[in-house]
Symmetry: C2
């Protein structure tokens, strides 16, 4: 018998890969990748395609939100704003915050889930290490879930699953290792597409997480900033 | 002194035109048009551009959501599903419902409003004549407003204004006439781009509204279905 279907937002990064591995235990997958004009768009799409070969989903969809690049306001979508080479300050909103980005992703996931008849959307958002992104908090997902309830057909029931929301990045790495998640196919760097830079805030969080988990990150780095992680 | 800035979702149809005319009384405008692969996309974009010339907004943005066409599930985005030539049954969801469409529009409007510093988003949604669209109900906008509050910067305050939500279509026409809204520049037909078909559910609602308001619709019709409106 077929498993129930779940839409999984899969950027191609570490967290979404672990989320897909988790979802795959009990669901058939509809893997969704959204391009939004971010710096490493092409590399992330490649990671998504590689992960599709690995997960063999029932459906996959690559789409784009050109508005986020047109609107800008983030170091990820506006080349004139530099990507910081340090860990984000958890007390303020990082300049890599893309305004309300996850709402765009969830709107697409919801439309697709409603048409496919999927009852769950999985998203690998995480409050702890990225508490600076307001659209990565469970309170946002709760509110969005209510908007889904009000804004879709009466018979549509869609839950937003955020299994990583309260885990540390090191716990996510450990969980991924248990699930044999294909870390080698993922991409997290905000700046580079050949080798990960090792210096941007995303690389630093990732490297620190692998170090804390006592595991080696299998992807290639240009210059891991090991002096200060 | 400059008026406060408001983002207005402007499809180019009757309701959004009246909404823009209302918003323009007390706000500078940031007019937003979203293409989503709908049948009359090119004609609606022309209406938007004509309305921009009329309203002379401080900002305008034309963008697109290709996902809605890719996902389908609606007569407006899937050519294999016919547009009905009758008024929608208010007790069921019309086949012209585009799954969760307004959430995509509001996500874009919110990202833009946050970057521009606009405190309001105006949308010409209407519960009465289109109660069949779940994402046109005030309960949906209330829930989405909460998602905006949770998913944007702490200092961001954005309200969703739905001034037409409880009006009948005839009341909207009368209000537009009072505001001298440029009806002649608008487009509502779901099927045609040269002359409005006069027969699709959107044309029927529009013609009926003008008839009830005792006014003449200034746009050209190919064959108004006057026998049964």
């Amino acid at each position: 018998m077929a498993k129930p279907l779940a839409v999984v937002l899969l950027s191609g990064g570490l967290d979404s890969c672990v989320t897909a591995a988790l979802a795959a235990r009990d669901h058939d997958l509809a893997l969704l990748h959204v391009k939004y004009g971010q710096r490493t768009e092409a590399r992330e799409e490649r990671a998504f395609r590689d992960l599709c070969e690995y997960f063999r989903p029932r459906y996959f969809l690559i789409t784009e939100v050109p508005a986020l690049k047109a609107i800008g306001g983030s170091a990820l979508t506006d080349a004139s704003i530099a990507v910081p080479e340090k860990e984000p300050d958890p007390r303020s909103i990082p300049v890599t915050y893309v305004p309300f980005r996850n709402a765009h992703f969830l709107a697409i996931a919801t439309s697709w889930a409603e048409v496919l008849g999927a009852g769950k959307i999985f998203i690998g958002a995480n409050e702890l290490d990225f508490s600076g992104y307001p659209d990565c908090r469970r309170s946002f997902f709760d509110a969005f879930e209510k908007a889904i309830e009000e804004g879709t057909r009466p018979e549509t029931r869609i839950r937003i699953e955020t299994p990583l929301i309260h885990l540390t990045k090191a716990q996510i790495v450990k969980l991924g290792a248990e699930l044999k998640a294909p870390f080698h196919l993922t991409w997290s760097c905000y700046q580079q597409e050949e080798k990960a830079c090792g210096r941007c805030e995303s690389c630093r969080l990732r490297l620190k997480a692998f170090a804390e988990a006592g595991l080696k990150d299998p992807i290639p780095y240009a210059s891991p900033a090991t002096e200060d992680i």
